[in-house]
């Protein structure tokens, strides 16, 4: 190495990346501008101005009449209930699939190394189950909950039921992924110790694995519940119960003061749930 030529060392290889990136970015920008029909002057034309004025003046004051508030009471409760039931179904879906999709539990690691040695058929079977579980989880979470909700509305009818199913499936996929990450992240020493004591697999799971994972488990599930409250509040836009349905109705009837009321209630509800969930998580 020639130490007398530092400049040659410092010189980074000329990269095409910045130019390529800038070119692609500009291309995407102009193409997207066209395709997305961006048209800022809508807001300055009389029609847009009128709509804007109507919306802003229509919003105030928010409709706080007792009649409307009592009308909202049930959907607000329903939103919370959908989120709770949905989260529970998500746990019921995510937990078993997450277990099967955990690498160290299904196919590798200390639990299996003795058993799967020299048993290709068995190993293949385990891998098949593992990949099916992972694939299902990925499928569940990559389809947005809105699409699930809309499909379930078609399959089982309007009301809170499709909302529960949609949240259950979409969040089940996410929970399952995180659960398997938690399971993979445990400390393996206790498991080995248990194994050397002669504990069977079930015992290893319940005394070594599960206690380590539990706090993270509960904490993450609660956190998902917060998200489920937000989601279930708007799933009603496609007919799946809760406050969203009421937003949709008020919006379609141009009652913007009602929309504002609902948004305020939504805000309070989400804030309350966040607070509650943070409290519980701090207790864990």
């Amino acid at each position: 190495m020639n130490l007398l030529a530092p400049s040659r060392i410092r010189q980074s290889p000329k990269s095409l990346f910045p130019y390529l990136f800038a070119g692609l970015f500009l291309l995407a920008f102009f193409d997207s501008w066209q395709r997305a029909g961006i048209d800022p002057k809508v807001f300055f034309e009389p029609r847009g101005q009128r709509a804007l004025g109507k919306f802003l003046t229509g919003m105030f004051p928010p409709d706080l009449s007792p009649a409307f508030l009592s009308l909202l009471f049930r959907p607000a409760l329903e939103t919370i209930q959908i989120s709770i039931l949905g989260t529970i179904i998500a746990v019921m879906i995510g937990f078993p699939l997450g277990l099967l999709g955990t690498n160290t539990m299904a196919v590798a690691g200390i639990l299996n190394e003795a058993e799967l040695q020299g048993a290709p058929l068995r190993r293949g079977l385990r891998y098949a189950v593992y990949f099916i579980a992972r694939g299902l989880l990925s499928l569940f979470r990559s389809i947005p909950e809105f699409v699930w909700a809309f499909m379930f509305v078609r399959a089982v009818g309007l009301g809170p039921f499709p909302g529960v199913l949609a949240i259950g499936l979409a969040y089940g996929g996410m929970l399952g992924k995180v659960y398997s990450e938690i399971f993979e992240g445990v400390n393996y020493r206790p498991l080995e110790a248990l194994q050397s004591l002669g504990a069977n697999k079930l015992q290893i799971f319940f005394y070594g694995w599960f206690p380590q994972a539990l706090p993270n488990f509960v904490s993450y599930t609660l956190y998902r519940w917060e998200c489920a409250v937000r989601a279930s509040a708007i799933l009603g836009l496609v007919g799946a119960g809760g406050l969203g349905q009421q937003i949709e109705i008020s919006m379609r009837m141009f009652n913007f003061n009602e929309v504002l009321t609902i948004l305020i209630i939504l805000f309070l509800m989400v804030a309350a749930v966040d607070y509650l969930s943070a409290k519980v998580r701090a207790m864990l």
Partner: protein
Amino acid sequence: MSQARQLKTCDTIPLPSGRARGNSMTTNLFILGAIVAFFVWSYRGAEISLPQLFSRDSFEQIGIYVQKLFPPDFSAAVIREALKGTVETFAISFMGTLMAVMIALSIVFFAAKNLIFSGLLYEMEPKQGWKRASRMVPYVAAKSVLNVLRTIPEMVWALIFVFLVGLGPFPGVLALGVHTAGVLGKLFGEVLEDVDTQPIESLQATGANRLQILLYGIVPQVLPQFISYTLYRWEVNIRVAAVLGLVGAGGLGQRIHIAISLFFEQQLLTLILAIYILVTIVDYVSAYLRRKVM
């Protein structure tokens, strides 16, 4: 470094913190009891019975629906429509995210405490009440604007903008831009508030004024994280852009809405596959770019 503070938004999956603490039996029982009570309450209220949920009947209904989805419709016309929708979804998410960055950047510097009224930059200043108070005004205003933008969900923004500017992808862009601006504003603000103070101190010692400190001491520090967060939100936005169409704001969602409403289940499956592919590709691209930046 940006991975150290995990994003806490609903659309990302933060990693578990890996901390465990012993609890007394009573606390655990109390939590368990509360959860069970909650469950019972919601179970009785939601007009759902679990037996009904897991009955043959509902499984059959769902089974019939799933059967109708297959096989996916791969005829040329449908493929073309799905492609068009995919590109439109991409365009919506792209323009929406750009708009969000512009809005967030124009607000966020007022919403960072250490830039606007407290901390190192202002410790030399005489404690005049009114001057400090006058600085609080833009801070509070910026914070509340960001809060309002963030609190209203994208779908509701989309409904509002569909009313204001009519159907099509444009209201989708606006909805994404406005909501994401609130989210990015919060994230950017947090990054700004915990910048490393040493470069700022040394700049101050050389006699740089506040604008110079901002440009040479703060912006270079936060830029990689800003970009990283923006890419994260872009990943999220592509998912949202795919469903905004359900309320009339263009993209794949609009086609999905049509396919579901008209019972074209096989086309629906094609469109869902398109979402899956698009989301996967964008995840990869974004992860690649983030690795380049960080």
